[in-house]
């Protein structure tokens, strides 16, 4: 029985593995964040990241060298996410956006500093309400908000990640942010922060 050093090296790390690690692993932070925002807890986020990398490794031969690897990895993750959590989240409860606007105007009138205004909207949230509000968004809208506002990706890159035209990126962002503030308003009202006369 011949056992060469080569076969040992193969056992430890194949060339494919080394290349994959070099190319794909540096993007784990982005994937982890998306995973965390989509699943809502660290255990599921871990699993989704792991599943994504195993799949990506398995299909490494199919990856076209020189193309956007972040977009490629992201798409594998998004498909895994959708397969796993098939019960697609529905549109959030209908929100009366005029109410949201009235609320905004009511706190705006006596406020001068824009930063102060932000503090008045977000500062009164319970710690995980913003997270919960984001999680309540339908996948398509949540995805663009996460990629743009948390990860700081350009519209162009988002379009490539999600495989949609730029025009769709901008309309989803607009609607996504609108749904988000509708949800935040709901929380504020539930806690009585928005009083009856402000409506």
């Amino acid at each position: 029985m011949q056992m060469t050093f080569a076969s040992m090296a193969y056992m430890l790390k194949t060339a494919k593995q080394a290349e994959f690690e070099r190319e794909a692993l540096p993007h784990m932070n982005l994937l982890y964040n998306y995973s965390l925002r989509m699943t809502g807890n660290t255990a599921d986020a871990d699993d989704l990241v792991q599943e994504t990398y195993l799949k990506a490794f398995r299909f490494w031969d199919k990856y076209e060298k020189g193309t956007n690897i972040r977009a490629w990895l992201f798409r594998i993750m998004k498909n895994s996410y959708i397969n796993r959590y098939r019960k697609e989240s529905k549109e959030p409860d209908t929100v009366d956006y005029d109410e949201v606007k009235n609320f905004y105007n009511s706190i705006r009138d006596d406020s001068v500093e824009p930063n102060d205004l932000e503090e008045r909207i977000f500062g009164n949230l319970l710690p995980d309400e913003l997270t919960k509000a984001l999680e309540s968004l339908p996948v398509d809208f949540r995805t663009v908000v996460i990629l743009c506002d948390i990860e700081g990706l350009s519209y162009e890159e988002i379009a490539e990640f999600v495989e949609i035209p730029i025009g769709t990126v901008r309309s989803r962002l607009h609607r996504g942010r609108k749904m988000l503030r509708g949800k935040l308003f709901e929380y504020a009202r539930k806690r009585g922060y928005v009083s009856k006369d402000q409506r």
């Binding site: 029985m1 982890y32 792991q50 988000l180």
Partner: protein, 269 residues
């Protein structure tokens, strides 16, 4: 610019990505239109709130480790890697330490083989020893793949007798090895089914194995093999099987349920 257009470009305005003309036009509109202006301010505030309060976090180091470890496609005992990790330090350092330890394992592996498959004796006993050696990484595969076809190609290329790699899809990976044992060629196939379950299959040419009684099978198994029946024996947590396909003697061992194991293997009978 009218309200409809303003709404269309609103997210771009918030993200400050409009080219100069369009940017001026939309802000002129926002000056004039209170409704659109408050839409703009609300969207801007929402974005700012999310950006500031939901910061991007780093993937936890244990996850990075786990992902990178899961890409090691060969069945090496976890404890082996844990021991290596205890040395800590840089990745490169760890890999070189691992390589060093691995060379020691090769020597151990050869010894295991000498005492295991190398000795004359019962095919089932040897199969069980090989099963352990393969799982522990003491017997090093020459071929590791996700698809049975690729492992089959390896055996077609390397083996002088007909080796049949069962086409089991639902496994994590398959490793294969051809070795010589007293001038008799043996094929080893190990399926990793999940984190803790393996299925090992041993194959050898019947005529060569039985010549000069290099290998023996349990007496009661002989008539069953002659009738092309399966000989199945359960010992504690392991199930062993012995059967014949054409001129190839096959033995398998696993911690899997007897029926499940039989089903997986028989599909290729």
């Amino acid at each position: 610019m009218d309200c409809r257009e303003a709404m269309q470009w609103l997210s771009d305005a918030v993200d400050k990505r409009l080219e100069r003309n369009l940017d001026r036009e939309i802000f002129e509109h926002l000056e004039r239109c209170k409704n659109c202006r408050s839409e703009y301010e609300m969207e801007r505030l929402t974005k700012e709130g999310v950006r500031r309060r939901l910061v991007s976090v780093k993937a936890p180091p244990p996850l990075v480790e786990r992902v990178s470890e899961s890409l090691v496609t060969v069945p090496v005992e976890r404890t082996f890697f844990s021991a290596v990790r205890a040395f800590s330090g840089s990745r490169t350092f760890r890999w070189s330490v691992a390589a060093g330890l691995a060379i020691i394992l090769v020597l151990v592996g050869v010894n295991v083989l000498d005492r295991g498959a190398g000795s004359r004796g019962d095919v089932l006993a040897n199969t069980e020893k090989n099963y352990d050696a393969m799982r522990m990484g003491n017997m090093v595969p020459k071929m590791v793949a996700y698809e049975a076809e690729r492992v089959q190609e390896y055996f077609n290329d390397q083996a002088t007798f007909q080796v049949m790699v069962p086409a089991i899809d639902q496994c994590a990976y398959i490793s294969g090895l051809v070795s010589m044992n007293q001038d008799v060629q043996e094929a080893h196939i190990l399926f990793k089914m999940d984190d803790s379950t393996y299925l090992y299959c041993y194959q050898v040419d019947v005529d060569k194995a039985m010549a000069d009684q290099t290998f023996t099978v349990p007496d009661e198994a002989v008539p069953m093999l002659d009738r092309n029946e399966w000989y199945i024996k359960s010992t504690g947590e392991r199930t062993m099987m012995l059967w014949k396909v054409g001129n190839t003697l096959c033995a398998a061992v696993s911690s899997m349920e007897k029926e499940e194991m039989r089903k997986l293997l028989a599909a290729n009978d």
